[in-house]
């Protein structure tokens, strides 16, 4: 009889494990982040600086729906460099961390608004699995188009004063555009761990409560791409990690024989 029980238990176990694996796969939480308490964690601080000639700020050519959007051409937020050459709105995050502090989710849904035909804010970071409210405070129709690869992409028209709520289950850097007003773009950064931040006005960032260890710290900016460095965080200490970013030479259009 006991043999039967053992067999039964084994079967149940196998089924459960395969179900978990299947669920896992379908949800894509392959390398899940484990939450816990971090005591005496380290801190990472640094500044992101621009190297090279500062490119001219692009002005957005708002050539449509002028009544709503047609204020003076406003500067593009695609690259914000302060006079001291520090860069604002750079996403700094730890890439390969599997365990650490609590992954706190905002009590209310985070949101991105469309106001005066501009996405506010331009870069929004949200934890994996959370829902974001996409608003339209303008009096014209905007469409919300997500150019995502992992999360199900969408493109829906939203009426003035309307709202669209979307959930993102995979960690991904997603560009959002409004195709009606082609100058409008924003970025949603879906994070799979709580160690992430945006640089402020002075290009500075600070990440706290990092368990001691060696990590890859990455800085990403939409116009400058990504830069990464290895850092070692010690308990209770502050680790400095500055980044330098530069504009890459644009490839010439012709392919020619540079294969």
């Amino acid at each position: 009889m006991s043999k039967f029980i053992i067999r039964y238990v084994c079967l149940i176990a196998v089924v459960t494990i395969s179900l978990i694996l299947l669920f896992h796969n379908s949800k894509g939480i392959m390398a899940a982040y484990e939450e816990g308490d971090v005591s005496n964690g380290g801190t990472i601080t640094g500044t992101v600086k621009f190297v090279g000639d500062v490119p001219e700020v692009k002005m957005l050519n708002m050539d449509k729906d002028r009544e709503t959007c047609g204020h003076d051409p406003s500067p593009s937020e695609a690259l914000l460099i302060s006079p001291d050459k520090t860069i604002k709105n750079v996403v700094v995050s730890i890439q390969n961390i599997s365990k650490g502090k609590k992954f706190e989710r905002p009590a209310e849904n985070p949101s991105i608004d469309q106001k005066g035909c501009i996405f506010i804010p331009h870069v929004k970071m949200i934890p994996q699995g959370s829902t974001i409210d996409l608003l339209n405070s303008d009096d014209v129709m905007h469409n919300l188009h997500s150019w995502s690869m992992k999360n199900t992409a969408f493109n829906e028209g939203v009426a003035g004063g309307g709202k669209l709520a979307k959930t993102f289950e995979f960690s991904e850097t997603i560009k959002m555009t409004c195709d009606v007003h082609k100058w409008m773009s924003a970025w949603i950064i879906v994070q799979n761990n709580p160690y992430y931040t945006l640089t402020g006005e002075n290009g500075k960032f600070r990440i706290e409560d990092v368990p001691p260890g060696t990590y890859t710290l990455r800085a990403w900016q939409e116009s400058l791409g990504r830069v990464a460095q290895e850092i070692t965080v010690k308990a209770g200490e502050e680790t400095k990690a500055d980044f330098e970013m530069t504009k890459k030479e644009k490839r010439k259009r012709r392919r020619r024989k540079e294969k």
Partner: protein
């Protein structure tokens, strides 16, 4: 000397008797065994079959004998014993018997009751009849009597029914209880049986094979119409078995049996129809296979059997199982073999050329290039189809001179130098307009579809290029190069860029060109052209009506072996395939000759003295081994004898339309720009999902579904992650080759994300037949217009024939099972709109409000007739005034409801969600989309013309 009668012949008689006996035995043995090798094969087959069944049985027994299995088996057996014991214990037995007794009593009670019920019912019927009768006869007393008895009887009936019901219910309970006593026993017994069942099954199969094995016999199929008897299955008994009993011949079943035998049942087709051989022979393997001296059709083995496909099937059809011959047909066509060799079934497309016309050669290329090209085309362009005629410098110059003097056109001017900006602009056009769909400017890419252009600057004159790019057909009426509708300036930029494409270290040689104008040199050239038959593939002034110089290939597969000239190479070539002389195995010998000819066409001249004009003339095509193999399958299959009509698989109906369409698509390389199918993944458990791989990671991929998948419970449009372990098979989408270049550009230069860049690639044609109307498509193919203002790449004008455009329009309709050529469009009929207006007064006006409402605002992006949206043209969306004639009405509705489902990534947003726009057009999203569709199919004139606003006046 003895007298005759005294002589004894005993010795002689004994000797003769022995000889006679021996002869008899020999004859008998030969009759029974020697001439019947198939008996051995057949009995061996049955042995193998038996062995296989036995193996399975043994495995089952062995498995059953395993301690675990035995343990379980015994445990269950014990359970049964326990249950039986329990059942047989006095208490249970007592109860059981009591219940049984009770049941019997009930049964006894039940039958009289049922009988009584029937009697009562019958009596009631009788009374009812009498009631009617008395009523008629007006015998009132009797009527009353009858009524009374009816009421009584009815009550009795009800009473009886009640009783019966009660007893039946009790009986059921009792039966259940009785079963309950035995339930354990039954359950365990069943379990045991299920465990033994596989053993029983195999045992039965084994016994059947052991005892009831069919008598050894000749199996034959008579192919009535061919007057052929096919006995192959006498040895190959198991050829049509689902599972092979052995890998070894003649016991195994047919490879890819489902394809080959599934579609050609051996009872109908025999084996000989595809494999040839001597099907009625049974006395030896070699004889049966026809591998004997002078047998004309020895057996085709393996892929060679594909030779026979074209005996019944159209050459253009890409058959499953006929992959090799399909490749060969394509190759034969592409190489233009029929340019020199008359071959029935090839060269039917009169609007296609093999090589370019040489009428304008002097204005097109420079003479030094032509000389070096003629001496070795593959040195200049390894991917070219032009074969090597193995010409000497003198010969190449002579041909050049002749062509030059015959040529018409302008004389090119001095070479021009272009500045960096002009060249860059040209490169931009080269990459953006669509050239890359067919051409590459990188040598290593080889031939994409059109010629490789990596060294085009060494060859072509700038002025000619400009003029060519502007109107290719004006120079080469049969070229497949389409007209990109470039303006003069763009053509100049593009030509400037192309002339800079040269190989590294290329330097133009300045030569003395006097020979070019020499009559004498040209005279030699003319002779050479006649000898080599250049006019078979190229149009040359004054040689248009020359006939083909090669032998006809239509029946080469049946050509008599002694007509193949091996020259002095016979021993070597035949020896290579293990033959001493050609008659030994005619098929093999023919095959060897064809292979030798294709790999080195002029080798048969070796060692022979021949005048130059008598030498072999076939040029060297530089074919790969695989190509030679494929071509020899095709050539072997081109045979003399024709099969009866009933065997011919005539292409007809939709199959024909699809084959024809595919041919035209291949001809114009539509796949160079357009994607025709989507990705298909087969997951474990045979779940097939369709859509697009969006992102591939190390051990998983992200897949966007284009069709609902019930088994995954996911809808079209959703992106799902699939681990690679789950994927059993993956079929990539076909076509859209240019997309990667366009995406690269928009990512690297314009800084867009890859998904966004996909918008700039040519439209996917998956499901096109459901989308556009055939009549419109026909028109569009004949004369394309720009539909999508944001695209740099453009649909060129192919100037295809009307027949070709018809075939394509029909292809797309057929592919989706749509009606062709006519379809009824109810939406454009007055009656339809009247009906709608009656149902919902102001229907179209309300639809228009929806169209114009600021929260839908179609005109914000879409062009409509004369009215253009704000902003730059590259941000505009397609002209809505075209919808009525271009799009299918039901497609418009599906599109409006969720554009991302039909064309993932499209900039067209989804508007109609449950509950929106109720103040403008109340209804469901479907009704709202329907209304917009009806408006689009009936757009009033005034919505397409710029309205004069008050300020204008």
């Amino acid at each position: 000397m003895k007298k005759e009668e005294e002589k004894s012949f005993l010795g002689l008689f004994v000797l003769l008797a022995f000889i006679l006996a021996a002869t008899n035995v020999g004859a008998l043995w030969n009759e029974i065994v020697g001439k019947r090798p198939w008996k051995h094969y057949q009995s061996r087959f049955y042995e193998l079959e038996y062995e296989k069944a036995k193996k399975k049985y043994d495995a089952a027994v062995l498995k059953f004998g395993q301690p675990e299995e035995q343990y379980m088996y015994k445990a269950v057996q014990r359970k049964i014993d326990e249950a039986k014991e329990e059942f047989e214990s006095p208490e249970v037995q007592d109860e059981y018997k009591k219940a049984l007794e009770e049941l019997r009593t009930l049964e006894e009670e039940l039958s009289p009751l049922r009988f009584e019920a029937i009697v009562t019912r019958n009596r009631m019927l009788e009374k009812k009849y009498l009631y009617g009768k008395y009523k008629k006869e007006e015998e009132n007393v009797k009527v009353e009597d009858a009524v009374l008895s009816i009421i009584n009887l009815d009550e009795k009936n009800k009473d009886l029914t009640e009783k019966i019901k009660y007893i039946v219910e009790r009986r059921a309970r009792l039966q259940k209880k009785l079963e309950g006593f035995k339930s354990k026993i039954n359950r365990y017994t069943k379990y045991l049986e299920s465990h033994e069942i596989s053993i029983h099954k195999y045992k039965e199969a084994m016994e059947r094979l052991g005892s009831r094995r069919p008598q050894l016999q000749v199996y034959q199929v008579r192919l009535e119409e061919l007057n052929e008897v096919d006995r192959c299955m006498t040895c190959h008994v198991g050829i049509n078995e689902k599972k092979s009993v052995s890998e070894e011949q003649p016991y195994s079943s047919h490879p890819r049996r489902e394809v080959y035998l599934g579609k050609h049942p051996p009872e109908e087709f025999g084996c000989v129809l595809c494999h040839e051989g001597q099907a009625r022979a049974t006395t030896s393997v070699d004889k049966a296979h026809g591998e004997v001296e002078y047998w004309l059709k020895p057996m085709y083995k393996g892929k060679m059997a594909q030779s026979s496909c074209i005996r019944c099937h159209d050459k253009g059809e890409e058959l499953v199982g006929g992959e090799e011959i399909a490749k060969a047909v394509k190759l034969f066509d592409e190489l233009g073999c029929y340019g020199c060799h008359e071959t029935k079934g090839f060269g039917r497309d009169k609007s296609k050329m093999i090589g370019p016309d040489l009428i304008e050669i002097s204005s097109k290329v420079n003479p030094a290039w032509l000389v070096s090209w003629l001496k070795g085309p593959k040195n200049f362009r390894p991917s070219t189809r032009m074969p090597d005629f193995i010409l000497e410098e003198k010969e190449a110059k002579a041909i050049t001179a002749y062509l030059w003097q015959q040529s018409e056109g302008f004389t090119p001017g001095e070479r021009e130098e272009f500045d960096e900006d002009t060249i860059d602009e040209g490169a931009y056009i080269f990459e953006s307009v669509g050239c890359l769909a067919c051409h590459s400017d990188v040598e290593e890419d080889g031939k994409v579809y059109g010629p490789n252009l990596a060294r085009i600057g060494e060859k072509v004159n700038y002025e000619f290029l400009v003029s060519w790019l502007l109107k290719p057909k004006a120079h080469q009426p049969k070229t497949r190069m389409p007209d990109f509708r470039l303006d003069e300036e763009d053509a100049q930029y593009l030509a400037a860029y192309l002339t800079t494409l040269k190989s590294e270290g290329y330097e133009e040689r300045l030569e003395e060109l006097e020979w070019l104008n020499s009559q004498e040199v040209a005279g030699l050239g003319e002779k050479l052209i006649f000898r080599d038959g250049c006019f078979g593939c190229h149009k040359i002034e004054g040689m248009e009506d020359k006939s083909k110089i090669g032998v006809e290939l239509t029946q080469i597969g049946s050509k008599n072996i002694h007509l193949f000239d091996f020259g002095l190479m016979e021993k070597e070539i035949l020896g290579g395939v293990g033959l001493k002389h050609a008659a030994e195995n005619i098929g093999e010998a023919r095959h060897a000759w064809i292979n030798a000819k294709l790999s080195d066409p002029r080798q048969f001249d070796k060692g022979r003295y021949k005048m130059p004009e008598d030498r072999l003339r076939m040029p060297n095509f530089g074919l790969t081994e695989d190509e030679i193999k494929e071509l020899s399958i095709l050539l072997t299959g081109m045979r003399e004898e024709e099969l009866p009509e009933s065997y011919i698989a005539k292409l007809k109906g939709s199959k024909k339309y699809l084959v024809e369409g595919k041919r035209v698509i291949d001809k114009f390389n539509c796949q160079g720009c357009h994607q025709f199918s989507i990705d298909t993944l087969t997951l474990k458990g045979a779940n097939e999902i369709k859509g697009m791989v969006k992102l591939e990671e190390e051990d998983s991929l992200f897949f966007q579904l284009w069709e609902d998948n019930e088994r995954l419970d996911r809808k079209a449009g959703e992106t799902i992650q699939i681990s690679k372990e789950q994927i059993k098979n993956r079929i990539k989408s076909e076509g859209g080759d240019i997309a990667s270049f366009i995406i690269d550009y928009h990512v690297e230069v314009e800084g867009r994300v890859a998904e966004e860049a996909r918008v700039f690639t040519p439209p996917v044609l998956y499901g096109e037949g459901k989308k556009v109307r055939s009549a419109w498509l026909f028109d569009f193919l004949e004369e394309p217009v720009g539909l999508r203002p944001w695209l740099d790449v453009r649909m060129p004008t192919f100037k295809m024939t009307e027949h070709e455009a018809t075939i394509l329009a029909r292809y797309f309709a057929t592919l989706e099972g749509e009606r062709y050529p006519f379809e009824y469009v109810k939406e454009t009929k007055a009656k339809y709109i009247e009906e709608k207006e009656r149902e919902m007064p102001g229907y179209l006006a309300m639809a228009r409000h929806l169209f114009e409402s600021k929260d839908v605002n179609c005109a914000s992006c879409h062009v409509r007739g004369d009215i253009t949206p704000e902003g730059e043209p590259s941000d505009w969306a397609p002209d809505l005034s075209l919808a009525r004639n271009r799009l299918k009405a039901d497609w418009i509705v599906r599109w409006l409801l969720d554009p991302q489902l039909i064309q993932p990534g499209t900039k067209m947003p989804k508007f109609f969600r449950e509950g929106v726009f109720q103040d403008i057009f109340p209804g469901t999203p479907e009704e709202q989309a329907e209304a917009l569709k009806d408006l689009l199919m009936n757009l009033p004139e005034e919505m397409l013309k710029e309205q004069r606003t008050e300020t204008d006046e």
